[in-house]
Amino acid sequence: MLLFLTGRILRLLTLLAAVSVLSFLLLEASPIDPVRAYVGADMLKVGPEQWAKIAEYWGLDRPLPERLARWSMAVLRGDLGVSMIFRRPVLDVIGERFLASLALMLTAWTFSGIFGFALGTLAGMKQGTWTDRLIKWYCLTLASTPLFWLGLLMLLTFAVWLGWFPVGLGVPAGVPAHEVTLADRVHHLLLPALTLGITGVAGVALHTRQKLVEVLQSDYVLFARARGESGLQLFRRHGLRNIALPVTTLQFASFSELFGGSVLAEQVFSYPGLGQAAVQAGLRGDVPLLLGVVIFSAIFVFSGNLAAELLYRLIDPRLRLKGDPCEQR
């Protein structure tokens, strides 16, 4: 296990180094001038001298290799620079925003996991019937639905027509920060999380269905049926135990789509999360923040994949014995 973990951590480090350096070089190649992006609308008020001063302040007048080296050293010390939009250290911005996003993603993730698993199980057990076809059709349609459109429809239905939920933002407008209660936050979180969760259902449900169909076609299920098992008992004894692991693993490995989805959901509901910060950074040319988000999202995706792998090793004894000879106790 220790060997495995060391290997993974090494892998993460090389991956991060590659992602960072490549992103840095890519951003350097961008035709968008960071100073111009920083100055923005005040373009006419800024003279050439001031322009040079700003470039010097951000260290933009140095040659490329030196900037890359300095930036890498700073990143190694844990300093990702200062965000141009927020005028605060990138790490602070990301940390604060990520907590908001995490609440959103976690709710959606749990919802899509439970609901998708239930739907997939139902479809798999009733394979070939109208229930199965309906669920399959629903999931496939859901998979081609643009998430932000679904979000807009939810917003229209539940926030505008029914008035059950606020139209957007992470907290009520015009209320001091210390008076915002947890209930307020949950109230604002629910609609975007639901949107994100509903979209996530499709993948889980289809995967669960497929795995369950495979299991149900196996010999041991044939024998179980011959013994007279059926319905819920059959599912609990033979279905659930065999599909639980692959489905959970898939759910962990879907962090990448989850993150992408949260970017869109946050934009629709103007929820102040990391995704919204990424969009802002991209639109307004905030290079340090964009770099930070790219690196951070890579770590996020990696940890999801790692969790999936660890889960497999912890739960499935076959893999543990085969994969790692030191592990045999």
Binding site: L27, S30, S256, G260, V294, S297
Partner: protein, 287 residues
């Protein structure tokens, strides 16, 4: 539920289309849609997009089937224009992506160990960052605008297909007819173009068709976020993101129909690609 027989029993009273007929029908539908889109974009274009302040914010009616927006522009014309733009971007992106995947897949499988390592590593690298974040990064690097969107969508869709094609070539590489060909002194290039490419064609076609809806969805997503296309070119994403300002006033048709049109288009090409995949696969072709 109790029966051991899990084969789906078909209702014999009603004639169901088999998969080939179903696929043909989808192709016909898709072709009609494309025709309407192209024709509509050409004929409706300029006239429908003109501003008509007497007909502002009208809900769907006979004269304006999809209603009008806050400037009195016909939403039907805007939707058709938006779809044709999305279609164009999707086609370009999926085409270039499939081409990149073909070249890299062939190179990885045939070009020796070192090249293979590099390409596999590159695929992993691209899959390590969330798709949408990567598109934002690349769109930014290309300076935004239409070329930014196209570059962003194109350069992020090849990794999965590359993996697939590489695996396919690796399998083909040790097939007997390839080995014999090599022994007979054929060059790698000859083997690649005469033996491998014909075998990859179905994979490539299906891969392209399945990439296409993805590319369109991502194009819509990235324009929705505000990257690239200007407000004067009604991409579906731009239409939807503009409609957000008018939702609280109750103008539901601004968001509902363009999104639905996008959904129908994406779903149709998804069905098409999936059916073709099943037809090309000898194990499921005769079902």
């Amino acid at each position: 539920m109790n029966s051991v027989n899990t084969l789906p029993c078909r209702n014999s009273n009603r004639r169901r289309l088999n998969r080939r007929q179903h696929t043909l029908l989808t192709i016909a539908l898709a072709a009609t849609l494309l025709f309407v889109l192209l024709g509509g974009a050409l004929f409706l274009g300029e006239e429908g997009l003109s501003v008509n302040l007497n007909h502002r914010n009208m809900p769907p009616s006979l004269a304006y089937p999809l209603g009008t927006d806050w400037l009195g522009r016909d939403m039907l014309a805007r939707t058709v224009q938006g779809l044709s733009l999305s279609f164009g971007v999707g086609l370009t992106a999926a085409g270039i992506s499939a081409f990149i995947a073909l070249v890299l897949g062939l190179a990885a499988a045939l070009g020796g160990k070192r090249l293979d390592t590099i390409i596999t590593w590159l695929v992993d690298l691209f899959l390590a960052v969330p798709h949408l974040v990567l598109i934002i990064l690349i769109a930014f690097v290309f300076g935004g605008g239409l070329q930014g969107v196209i570059a962003g969508v194109t350069l992020t869709h090849w990794p999965a297909l590359t993996r697939l094609l590489r695996a396919e070539v690796l399998q083909l590489r040790s097939a007997e007819f390839v080995l014999v060909s090599r022994r007979l002194g054929r060059s790698r290039w000859w083997v690649a173009t005469r033996h491998l490419l014909p075998h990859l064609k179905p994979q490539l076609l299906v891969g392209f068709l399945l990439l296409f809806p993805h590319a369109i969805l991502h194009e819509a997503a990235i324009t929705f976020l505000g990257f690239g296309l200007s407000p004067h070119r009604p991409a579906i994403g731009v239409i939807l993101s503009e409609s957000m300002h008018y939702l609280s006033a109750g103008s539901w048709w601004l968001a509902f129909f363009p999104g639905l049109a996008l959904l129908v288009m994406v779903r149709m090409f998804d069905i098409l690609g999936d059916n073709l995949r099943l037809l090309y696969d000898p194990r499921s072709a005769r079902e």
